[in-house]
């Protein structure tokens, strides 16, 4: 639609979001380049989650549109979703499955097949060594989040990562691992949109800060 490619990879154009009677934001526009992160912050209830859900088409904006490589994502449809990884507040981890099975099925439903060894390896690097076979029910809060985040290394080929408070419940070490993962993704030219109440500590990459107001 006339927007030249050079203007950015992910664009929000005049986005407006209304929940119930409340206008959370309007005329919200931004442009994120390849290799750049968008850190959305702001007070509780200011609409960060709503914005992220709009970006990944789970929610329709009241007005305005989201563009990916210059084209409205509503038009792109499946093609857009095929290049997208969203990890929301809900961890999508099944209590009755083990960490390993949770990860395997999450990837399989994403249409990607991974060798068992790589899965176990990744879980270990997420601090779940020796807990691969435990049902997720018995894991601690932070460990459950780690299981859901362990998908990310396998999503290197998906250009856009949208992460809603990925650092919640994580300990210091896990936060560092997440920083490394995100940095690596940006370095290889991906785009990351994330929310966090803690400051984001990404070095050597460009981070755009979007402050929502109440």
């Amino acid at each position: 639609m006339g927007v030249p490619w050079g203007l950015g990879v992910l664009q929000g154009v005049d986005l407006e979001c209304i929940r119930g009677q409340r206008r959370l934001f309007s005329k919200l526009s931004f442009t994120v380049q390849a290799g750049e992160a968008l850190w959305v912050s702001g007070p509780n209830g200011s609409g960060k989650t709503s914005l992220l859900r709009i970006l990944c088409t789970l929610l329709a904006p009241e007005s305005g549109e989201v563009r990916w490589r210059g084209r409205p994502v509503r038009e792109l449809g499946e093609a857009y979703r095929a290049g997208l990884t969203y990890i929301g507040h809900a961890v999508a981890v099944k209590d009755d499955l083990s960490s390993l099975e949770n990860l395997r099925f999450a990837l399989a439903q994403d249409g990607c097949r991974v060798a068992e060894a790589a899965l176990i390896d990744t879980l270990a690097r997420f601090g779940l060594a020796g807990r691969e076979e435990l049902p997720a029910r018995v894991l601690s809060q932070g460990q459950r989040r780690r299981v859901s985040l362990a998908r990310l290394p396998f999503c290197a080929d998906r250009a856009l990562w949208i992460l809603d408070e990925p650092l919640t419940a994580l300990d210091v070490q896990a936060v560092e691992l997440m920083h490394a993962l995100i940095t690596a993704h940006l370095v290889r030219g991906g785009v990351v949109v994330l929310t966090s109440h803690q400051p984001i500590d990404l070095k050597d990459v460009s981070v755009q800060h979007l402050r929502m107001v109440d």
């Binding site: 789970l58 961890v91 009755d96 994403d110 390896d121």
Partner: protein
């Protein structure tokens, strides 16, 4: 650290692989909750057994009500498992992930329906003739009952999935499902029970069974699509 950052997945998997991963996951979950698989089964047996208790032991009455009782119990047993068909996936965010999958959502829904049927339908089909025996039904009627259930229970799973999807995140969902789904089940009940009754009285059962087959085809076309649409609405 490096290895984590460049794990390379194989993304050339087709539709079928994704479909079967959905089915497999649901089956695995059902196996984990072993109690669950056995439960709609035991529920079926218990409900069928409750009726004679309430109605009294008169064998002629029992033979007369047997087809209705078995089918109503099958309906209820199938419905009981509906709540867990999508609600858990909705609550924990799995459903969002399915919606965001680049594969067609209706196919994924079909996978979930298939898993539901394998877990709840098949056991019913296997045990129903045995229960019918206890109601003193003759042999041919038992065969017709099993055949009818074979055609009818997938319809129950498919229609039920629509109801389950429509009530996602709705207050008081588990009850509302019953309300939405039971009326849809009624045609299946009428023809399913009708076939058995016809067999008991030695009449032709073909008409009833072919109606069931028609329902099956019809819902196989409509249900996955409708369920997918309902899920999209719920996730928004």
């Amino acid at each position: 650290m490096e290895a984590v950052l460049d794990a390379t997945p194989d993304r050339r998997t087709g539709l079928l692989a994704v479909f079967s991963s959905v089915v497999q996951r649901d089956l695995l979950l059902a196996m984990r909750r072993r109690a669950d698989v056995l439960t709609s089964f035991f529920f079926f047996i218990i409900v069928v057994s409750l009726f004679p208790l309430g109605v009294g032991p008169e064998p002629n009455t029992l033979r007369e009500i047997a087809p209705g009782v078995v089918w109503v119990a099958a309906l209820l047993a199938s419905m009981l498992a509906l709540h867990r068909l999508l609600a858990a996936d909705y609550a924990d965010g799995t459903l969002e992930q399915l919606v965001l999958s680049p594969k067609p959502l209706s196919l994924l829904m079909l996978g979930k329906m298939l898993a539901h049927w394998l877990v709840t339908g098949i056991p019913l089909i296997l045990i129903a003739p045995l229960l019918g025996l206890q109601f003193d039904l003759p042999g041919p009627a038992l065969a017709v009952m099993a055949l009818g259930l074979l055609l009818g229970t997938p319809v129950l799973s498919m229609l039920g999935a629509i109801g389950a999807a429509l009530t996602l995140g709705v207050r008081g969902a588990s009850g509302l499902i019953a309300l939405l789904v039971l009326p849809l089940y009624i045609p299946v009940l009428i023809f399913g029970a009708g076939a058995v009754s016809a067999a008991v009285s030695g009449l032709s059962v073909e008409g009833h069974l072919s109606m069931l087959a028609a329902f099956l085809l019809f819902s196989a076309v409509i249900a996955p699509w409708a369920a997918a649409a309902a899920v999209r609405i719920a996730v928004e």
